[in-house]
């Protein structure tokens, strides 16, 4: 049993964290601009949580995340809850910063630090931690939301994730708790659309991530291309409070090893989140969210289902 959990956890770890990077676009990036009043903060967003709102020249932020495993989806997309005596807790602290380098363009850097506590009846508990995969991303807003009546806000997203974390094969602990990275360079590109309707904001984003070939233990391997779709709906309350519901669906094709596709390694995952944001001052905002990967048969495949929460604090510079 312990081996099963170990293998499963390690194999999906990178995918879950990569998905999380995409998920943050909706869950935490939507809120700043809603909380400030849509029109006031139209424009901007990025692949990291550090999306700059209109007029912001830069920002620094931190995000805390805690998640616990509900169970896992197998290759047939069947869900199984965590076996008795088995558990996994994941924690993450992200530092991020963004800089506007042109009127409509911004660059963001995300530095994650990850910890994981896993336990099985046979191995007992273990705790691993380390630097995760750094992500550098850029966003160019062709149009800002509300700028044109006939057009939504349209933005291009580009990102690269560097394998600065410890990949699965380099983990020292039995359950792979100290694996903190995908082990491969990931290039991503996407398109984000957003539109305001009075106090409502709708954001639809799509991302494609190509994972480059990697060599480990003398064998070349490559994860399948990942596609992520995000739909977020936010509402701005009086008093600069905002709430949002975010759905993120990601799927990727089969991995390949030594040039051959490995059947039944494709993954998919659905994540739903509810988030609340508050603007404390013109330059300080705070966000919190709860998320869950619904443990329903068919919605996930070769992936872990988790539930958790995030807390984000951002200081921006006008």
């Amino acid at each position: 049993m312990s081996r099963r959990v170990s293998t499963l956890s390690s194999s999906v770890l990178g995918a879950v964290r990569a998905t999380f990077a995409a998920w943050t676009i909706g869950a935490t990036l939507l809120l700043p601009r809603i909380a400030l009043g849509q029109a006031c903060c139209a424009g901007a967003s990025a692949i990291t949580p550090g999306r700059l709102a209109l007029h912001e020249q830069g920002l620094l932020g931190g995000q805390l995340r805690a998640a616990w495993m509900l169970g896992s989806f197998n290759r047939a997309a069947r869900f199984a809850g965590s076996p008795p005596g088995t558990s996994e807790w994941d924690f993450e602290q992200d530092l991020f910063g963004s800089l506007r380098f042109a009127r409509r363009a911004q660059l963001s850097l995300l530095v994650p630090v990850l910890e994981s506590r896993r336990r099985t009846p046979s191995t007992g508990a273990e705790f691993g931690a380390g630097l995760g995969d750094l992500n550098l991303s850029a966003r160019y807003d062709f149009t800002w939301a509300r700028e044109y009546r006939a057009l939504p806000g349209i933005a291009a997203l580009l990102g690269v994730t560097f394998p600065t974390g410890r990949p699965q094969e380099s983990a020292h602990l039995a359950l792979g708790s100290d694996a903190t990275g995908l082990g491969a360079v990931q290039l991503s590109a996407g398109l984000a659309l957003e539109r305001t309707f009075g106090d409502w904001l709708v954001d639809v984003s799509g991302l494609v991530a190509k994972r480059l070939n990697r060599r480990s233990n003398g064998v070349d391997s490559e994860l399948g291309t990942q596609f992520t779709g995000i739909v977020a709906v936010g509402y701005s309350f009086p008093g600069e409070l905002a709430a949002a519901l975010v759905g993120t669906y990601s799927f990727e094709g089969n991995a390949s090893v030594a040039g051959s596709e490995v059947a039944d390694t494709a993954k998919r995952q659905l994540r739903l989140a509810g988030a609340i944001g508050a603007t404390l001052t013109d330059t300080v905002r705070m966000q919190g969210s709860l998320f869950v990967d619904p443990p329903l048969a068919g919605v996930g495949r070769n992936s872990i289902a988790s539930s958790g929460l995030t807390l984000t604090l951002i200081r921006s510079f006008l």
Partner: protein, 194 residues
Amino acid sequence: MKRVRALLQFLALLSALGCSSAHSAATFPDQPGLVLSGSDGRKHDVFAEVRSATLSVFVFYSEACPCVRAHEPRLREIQADFAARGVAVLLVDSELSADEQRDRREASLRGYPFPLLTDPGARLANAVHAEYATHAVVVDASGRIRYSGGIDSDKNRLHPDAKPYLREALEALLAGREPRTTDPEPLGCALQTH
């Protein structure tokens, strides 16, 4: 290849849309036909009003913009402090959704001491390249734009230590000097003028 080319052309078009209005005008548009309805029930011949005041301050307005709401006290103070010195303050609603009746109702509801002009078609905003609500344009009696930028350094909350760009510019111009800052970024909402 055709699809890639079409996509690139589309992106170039979008990019051009985004860059089309990042300029500032030096001269106020001499458009004799630019007559806008005001919330005070009058028709305002904009250029004639510019010539009749020592300085005219046009502040672009958006009904949906919290930054405009936040700056109302500052604008009232400026109106109160400078009206007697020949400065006219005018709000301008240049958004596509601008509606004379709604502007009149809003101005009445909020007790504006200055007229709110309805600018259907965004002729005035486009002429002075105003892109954001709270963008303030100061014009002298000769029609020369002397200042084009934000009201102050605040966004949608007022702080006592904010840099009062517009106020300083008015003081300088009334004293016969050039303002120290002539084009600070207006920290308001994107105006929907297209």
